[in-house]
Amino acid sequence: MKKTIAIKIVALLAVSFVLVGLFVSTSAYEETKARIVEVLCLSCIKLEPKTSQEFTFDTEDNASHPYYVTENLTKGPVFLHYSEDVCAGCEVMFPIVKQLFNIEFGKQDMFSDTVTFGNTNITYIYINLDHTTDALEESFPLYDKDDVGGLPMFTIVTLGYDHGIVRPYYTTLYGTLNVPTDEQRASVLQEILTESLELYSQNGAGYHSH
């Protein structure tokens, strides 16, 4: 009898030791909090966020997201604005985007900045394919989710919940956004940005860039 009790107490001490060890020397507690408790588990609720545009986890050929996206995602969503020199649609959208984020730069510049939208930081990266680096240019086919291959193209990368893992989640808009006026175009961009911010706030706690 005494032997049985002794074994049980030893087992209890061993489990307690493992638990304390996990708390002290691993990130199990923090990771459980960040990746499970603080993130809205879409698998658990069997629901998807209702968005006006279709967001996806899949890049072309399942390629990795570029470092300037994954790293900046720790601060907030990333807005990639693709353009080129000779492009009527780019001319239409260029001032709308600048006004939306209250930024100023030239159409042929390489430009990136942290802008504020709805009290949240967004990393804005302007990529004029005629005046850019290879690293930035390579992201263009990656995010061309509908294989349009056309410009202007706008990619909003936020965070989504994929069966317990928070991953980059993006959507891409093309051209002049299928609406006739500048106000409507600005409104479409605002709507998609608002949705991306909401997705980010739902999942941000569970994201690790590495």
């Binding site: 209890l12 489990v15 990130s27 588990c41 629901l47 998807e48």
Partner: protein, 269 residues
């Protein structure tokens, strides 16, 4: 204070403790019972969610494997499945539906089904659920128990839909999960503690600890007059006079209260 009243108070306190997230308290602990972190008020994580994460699609994140098992192990060795009877919010829910289920049980057809020899084998379903849907399908194809969990539906899906009208749309698992949820409701209203008896994967994790726990319900067979009152009141349908550290015992203490000979007792060993 009567034991069952104490247990009720304890269950209510634990229910509120599990929902302190409503006051902003979110922790990195795993519940030692069955409750969903998707509940807007949840304080901690479901142990099953962490276990699914640990093996999802051939990955092995040992921290997520060991951490919930160590928490379950700690409470299991200390109290066995008393967690199901005294702490689990879904246990509290089934306590509420138990009166209806007891009325159903008195029906002759229900009695015949309950006495069927297959009934004891049905209780192994929860172990199958744990192994297949929490570990195996999660590891092999990425299908997880969480995708169809009726408790997630009850405490996560519906509150979130009510709190965020129009912000979410059902995903492809929703119809299946809804059917399972309806079956869950039928189950808990027709079989007392039906979820705990047959399907609860957390119960399956805790059950083996009944064999080694420091706390147990002990039956003094010399005092037994074979009145069978204890078995009749047992919400888990255990043959109490013949039990010894039964895997199904949730240590609710109903048999302890009901024994006219005071031959059933809680025992620390």
């Amino acid at each position: 204070m009567k034991l069952q009243l104490k247990r009720l108070y304890f269950q209510i306190i634990l229910f509120f403790s599990a929902n302190l997230g409503a006051l902003g308290l979110k922790t990195g602990f795993c519940y030692p019972f069955f409750y969903c972190q998707a509940c807007p008020a949840a304080t901690s994580a479901c142990p099953l969610r962490a276990l699914e994460n640990s093996v999802y699609k051939q990955s092995l994140e040992w921290r997520f494997l060991v951490y919930p098992l160590a928490i379950i192990g700690f409470f299991g060795i200390t109290t066995g499945r008393a967690i199901c009877g005294w702490a689990c919010p879904i246990g509290l829910l089934q306590r509420g539906t138990g009166k209806v289920a007891r009325k159903v049980r008195s029906h002759p057809i229900a009695q015949r089904l309950g006495a069927h020899r297959a009934e004891k084998y049905l209780r192994y379903t929860k172990y199958v659920m744990l192994i297949v849907f929490v570990f195996l399908t999660s590891f092999l194809i990425g299908f997880i128990f969480t995708d169809i969990c009726p408790v997630g539906m009850l405490v996560g899906t519906f509150p979130i839909m009510i709190l965020n009208p129009g912000k979410f749309v059902p995903n492809y698992f929703f119809p299946i999960a809804l059917v399972i949820f309806i079956l869950f409701l039928v189950l808990i209203f027709t079989i007392e503690r039906g979820w705990c008896r047959y399907f609860c994967p957390v119960g399956a994790l805790l059950a083996p600890f009944n064999k080694v726990s420091l706390l147990e319900v002990s039956v003094e067979s010399k005092q037994c007059i074979h009145c069978n009152i204890c078995s009749n009141v047992c919400p888990m349908g255990i043959d109490v006079p013949n039990m010894h550290r039964d895997l199904e015992c949730i240590m609710c203490g109903k048999c302890v209260n009901s024994c006219p000979q005071s031959g059933i007792k809680f025992k620390r060993s």
